[in-house]
Structures are given as structure tokens and as C-alpha cells.
């Protein structure tokens, strides 16, 4: 058994080797050494020319056919692809591991742009549940509203919705930034582990419930705080970062960020075990 006597700044669980991660400051952690970038290779990626542009009408295609055709166009070097008539189809644009300028002229259904790494995407409509789930890098901009589980488990990149989003935005997110121009539903930031969420409007109940780490900035009213979500001081650095981010995102450029609320993890989730059953139910 590990020595648990000299553990002034460690928890017993850490001393016993049950986990090794240090939670503090994880949002600044670097995953890859940029010097080794040339060693990374994705199967199915292509050299594309952003000036080489084409349209793709997916009205009569299945999602699989449309995605295969996007891949085919990238293999031909097209770096800008405009998708016509997506008409709310599910799973469009998933699994693109490429630099690409992708524009959807319309709305997407569930799981749009899931598991992508690198593309710059603009959706001139709405998206359904779980948009950009597992996004690793790149930028996805939605001009209208989004459904629930927006940006679930994203690892990186910028995910921007200019309208309002449903429940559980940023659930389980592990990095990256989510920016919402309108309101957000219940359980925003549920179990988030890293990354940042910016909501310019109001947010529903149980904000940041059971979050491990990461930061949430709210411009409007908060329905209620979730378990272990606590207020934190909005610093000058935070405000500068928010201004930069909102400007780059082309959203809320003139928004008064000084009045935003900053919510972080209290990091006392073990207290959750002490909740009464009825409170637990509320937290779930």
C-alpha cells in the first residue's frame, strides 16, 4: 500500500496511485509537440487547394453517399465545397480529417460534422442533436439554432452557434471553445472536463453540473447551478480573451464582457456522495 502519511497537498486517492492527473490548470495543457507535426499522418487526407471550388447537391443522396462524394472531391484537390439542399439530413460531413472550407446552404440533422479534425465549416441553417461531436480541431459556425448535446465531447476547435441551443451543450467536453450567441438549455457543460463555453444569453437549470474542470462564461441569467459549479472572479485576462474570441467568432463583438459571470468547478465532487437521494435525483 502506498505511503499516505506525507500527503499534505495530495489527496489520499492520489497517494495511493488511483489517479495521477493534476486537475489544476489543465486547460493550458499541450497535447502535441508542434515540432513533431510532420510525423502525424491521417489515412484518407488530401492536399487541397482552397481556391478550387465546387458545388455538391445532396438532395437525392443518402448521408453515406454525400459523405463519400465529399471525400471524392477532396481527393481531387477541391478545397472549397458548397453543399446544396442538405434538408436536415443526419450525419452529413462526419469524419473529415482534412483542411477544408465547407459550406452548407441549409440545415443539418443529427450528428452533423461529427468526429472532424481540421475543416472550416459554415452552416447557413440549423443543426440537430450532437452537432460536431468529438470535434478535434477546426471551426464550425452555425448561423441559426442548434439542438441538444451541441459540441458533445469536443477535444478542440471552435464551435459557434449564432442562435440558441438545446440542453446539455458541451456535455463531456474535453477541450476547445463553444460560443453561443443566444440562449442555452438545461445541463449546459454537464460533466465537462476541459475547455471553455461562452453563452451570451440566458442558460437553463443545472449549469455546469458535475463539471470536473473547464470554464463557463454566461452573459445572461442562470436558471440554477448544478452540483459543484461555482462562481469565480472574472479577471482582466478573461475579459481580453472573451473580446478576442467574440471578435474572431464574428459574434457579439460589442458585447459588454465585463458583466459576464464566470463559472468553474468547485472540485469538491466527492461531496456529491453526501447528497440526499432526492438531491441526487435532481443532480442527475
Amino acid at each position: 500500500m502506498a505511503n499516505i502519511k506525507n500527503t499534505e497537498k495530495k489527496t489520499k486517492a492520489q497517494a495511493m496511485g488511483m489517479h495521477t492527473e493534476v486537475l489544476t490548470g489543465r486547460t493550458q495543457q499541450k497535447f502535441f509537440n508542434p515540432d513533431e507535426a510532420e510525423n502525424f499522418y491521417y489515412f484518407g487526407t488530401y492536399d487541397v487547394d482552397f481556391n478550387k471550388r465546387t458545388d455538391l447537391d445532396v438532395k437525392d443522396m443518402t448521408a453515406a453517399e454525400a459523405n463519400k462524394e465529399i471525400d471524392n472531391l477532396m481527393s481531387q484537390g477541391f478545397g472549397t465545397i458548397v453543399i446544396k439542399n442538405p434538408q436536415g439530413k443526419h450525419s452529413l460531413g462526419v469524419g473529415i480529417l482534412n483542411k477544408l472550407n465547407l459550406i452548407f446552404e441549409g440545415s443539418l440533422g443529427y450528428f452533423g460534422m461529427g468526429s472532424c479534425d481540421g475543416p472550416i465549416v459554415r452552416i447557413n441553417g440549423r443543426v440537430g442533436w450532437s452537432c460536431a461531436e468529438n470535434l478535434m480541431a477546426g471551426k464550425v459556425v452555425i448561423e441559426k439554432n442548434a439542438g441538444s448535446c451541441f459540441g458533445a465531447a469536443i477535444r478542440g476547435g471552435d464551435l459557434i452557434c449564432k442562435g440558441s441551443v438545446g440542453a446539455r451543450t458541451g456535455i463531456d467536453m474535453k477541450g476547445g471553445t463553444i460560443i453561443i450567441g443566444g440562449d442555452a438549455g438545461a445541463f449546459t457543460g454537464f460533466m465537462m472536463q476541459r475547455g471553455r463555453i461562452i453563452i451570451l444569453g440566458d442558460v437553463g437549470i443545472n449549469l455546469g453540473d458535475s463539471m470536473y474542470d473547464g470554464t463557463i462564461f454566461i452573459g445572461g441569467e442562470i436558471g440554477s447551478y448544478g452540483s459543484d459549479a461555482v462562481d469565480s472572479e472574472l479577471t482582466k485576462n478573461d475579459q481580453d480573451w472573451l473580446k478576442r474570441k467574440l471578435k474572431v467568432a464574428e459574434i457579439g463583438e460589442n458585447f459588454d464582457v465585463s458583466k459576464m459571470k464566470k463559472i468553474v468547478a468547485g472540485k469538491k465532487l466527492w461531496n456529491y456522495d453526501n447528497l440526499e437521494p432526492t438531491e441526487k435525483k435532481g443532480a442527475i
Partner: protein
């Protein structure tokens, strides 16, 4: 996982049967054990339309026990006799399938509770709907199959709700299929996507208050719950708001009356709903592709938030 869809035209009528068929067929991947329609057709409002079944569909996939078709005729005869005893006059009679019938009835009493109890005291007989505008049609199979079987394509009306079912907690049969009639209220129907976890507690309580359940499908609870609230004087919207705390579990449901359509979403927003709203039309469904089947052009849609209740009038 089930799919629900609904639409309401404001200030005009349309081929709601055809429109709802398209919406539900777009959701068939969410379940095609059974499909149901609650259609609010254009009528003169004088007579009741009673949709009822005298047996189950025992075709492929059904969990019902096969019966000799002759019992359907016997049950129908008893229904006809009971209607006569109740003072109801059959104006028009349609036998769409051996087990499924549609009667147009002249009945001037307001007490649908005794009426329904009398008819449903016949074993194997269930009133699917009773109203002056509402017609509930439900059967096994996907939306197109049911629509074709019952010739719903041409039905003209103002609003409709429907359900594509993947059976999870009760049988694959018509009695467990949605929509549920808000017994014993004329022209009230409900469809639901989700699971209710306090079904038995609520059911026992409501049965003690004289309400009736025909299936063991948890969704039926919503119809009975709302009917009981309205019986006690609550408006539809008040009843729906109370249901957000009175019903436990995850749910998105639609309820329709003769002149209105409503939606409610649980406080965890665990079940999907996409909504399109304009001055002329409200259309909603579990997924946007349902709405796209009737509005293929670019439109603005949104997800209602947790704990939201909305009601629209025709």
C-alpha cells in the same frame, strides 16, 4: 426510441392525412412496430365519429393471440345493440378491416363516460377515438402501410398528431399503439416519446378515481392524466403544466383537441423535439427531417427548452 410528429394549420384546412404520413414516414427509422394517426377532419360538427376495434391485428410481428374472425362479427352485433340501447343512431358505417370500424353516430347526450364504459364492456372491443372531429387510426407497420391500409391520404382537416412506435415496454399490438384517446373527453388525443417511471403509482391513483386504462403502455398515462385534470376543471394548458412535475421520467408529448395542438417537454429535455412556427402553420417532430417532408425549403426551426409547454389554436 419512438418518433412523434404534429402539425396545425391556422385559418385553413389541408390534406393533413397526407402531410402527417410524410412526416411519420421520415421518422420510420425511430420505430415501425406500429404507427398511429390522430386526424382532426373537417366535419359539420353534428355527429360523433367513433373509431373502434373489435379485435387485434395478428399479422407478422404482432404479439396478439389469433382469434377466429367470426368473433369480430359477434362483437360488432353487440356494439350495434348497445348503441341502440344508449339511444345512439348509426348514420354511417364503415368496416375498413375485419377488426377495425368507423361509425358516424347521432348521439345527443354529453355523457361519454357511461357511453364508453358500456361499449367497452364487450370483451375485445376498444374505442380508439370518439369525437366530432377527431379520428384515431392506428395499426401495425410503418406510416405508409397504415396510411394505405386505411386510405388516409385524402383526409382533409386542420391539424393532426402521429406516432411511429418502437415497442419497448409493452406489446406490439393496436391497443398499445399511439395516439391515445383522452377518454372520456371528446376530441382529445395524445402521443408520447419517452418513458414514464411513475406509471404504476399514477395509474393506481387514477383508477381509484374512476379513470380507465386499456393497455399497459406507460404513454397512455398521459392521456388519462390530462383527462382527469380537465375533468376537475383545469384547462388543457394548466393540465400540461402540472404534468411536468406530476409525471416522472423523460418525455416529449403532443396533445390535441378539437381546436388546439400542444406540446410539453420534460425538465431534463431528454427527448428531442424540433419546432417550426409561422402565422399559417406549426409543424413539429422528433427530427427536422419530419418537418422537411412538408417544408423542403429553407426554414427557421428550433428546439423548445426543458420544461416548456406550448399550445396553439387553429
Amino acid at each position: 426510441m419512438c418518433g412523434i410528429a404534429g402539425l396545425i394549420h391556422r385559418g385553413k384546412s389541408s390534406k393533413v392525412g397526407h402531410e402527417l404520413q410524410g412526416m411519420l414516414q421520415a421518422l420510420k427509422h425511430r420505430g415501425e412496430d406500429s404507427t398511429g394517426y390522430a386526424l382532426y377532419g373537417d366535419t359539420d360538427g353534428k355527429n360523433f365519429i367513433m373509431r373502434f376495434k373489435v379485435g387485434e391485428n395478428v399479422g407478422e410481428g404482432s404479439t396478439s393471440v389469433a382469434e377466429d374472425v367470426s368473433v369480430y362479427d359477434e362483437r360488432k352485433k353487440i356494439v350495434d345493440n348497445y348503441l341502440s340501447e344508449l339511444g345512439a343512431k348509426i348514420i354511417k358505417e364503415e368496416r375498413i378491416l375485419p377488426y377495425s370500424l368507423r361509425y358516424e353516430i347521432e348521439y345527443d347526450k354529453k355523457d361519454l363516460l357511461n357511453f364508453s364504459q358500456k361499449i367497452e364492456s364487450i370483451p375485445g372491443v376498444e374505442i380508439l377515438s370518439m369525437g366530432k372531429s377527431l379520428e384515431v387510426i392506428k395499426d401495425l407497420g410503418n406510416a405508409k402501410m397504415v396510411c394505405d391500409r386505411y386510405n388516409l391520404d385524402k383526409l382533409v382537416g386542420t391539424h393532426a398528431i402521429g406516432h411511429a412506435r418502437m415497442a419497448t415496454e409493452s406489446g406490439v399490438d393496436i391497443k398499445s399503439a399511439h395516439p391515445f384517446w383522452g377518454y372520456p373527453f371528446s376530441d382529445v388525443s395524445v402521443v408520447h416519446n419517452g418513458q414514464l417511471t411513475n406509471y404504476w403509482n399514477n395509474r393506481r391513483s387514477l383508477e381509484n378515481k374512476g379513470m380507465r386504462f386499456m393497455s399497459e403502455c406507460d404513454s397512455e398515462l398521459i392521456a388519462v392524466y390530462l383527462a382527469e385534470k380537465m375533468r376537475d376543471g383545469a384547462s388543457l394548458e394548466e393540465g400540461m403544466k402540472e404534468s411536468l412535475t406530476g409525471l416522472d421520467g423523460v418525455f416529449t408529448y403532443f396533445v390535441a383537441t378539437k381546436d388546439s395542438l400542444g406540446m410539453a417537454k420534460d425538465t431534463m429535455a431528454a427527448k428531442p423535439l424540433v419546432l417550426y412556427e409561422s402565422d399559417e402553420l406549426v409543424a413539429m417532430g422528433s427530427e427536422e427531417i419530419a418537418i422537411r417532408s412538408i417544408l423542403p425549403q429553407e426554414i427557421d426551426t428550433y428546439d423548445p427548452f426543458d420544461g416548456e409547454v406550448k399550445v396553439w389554436q387553429i
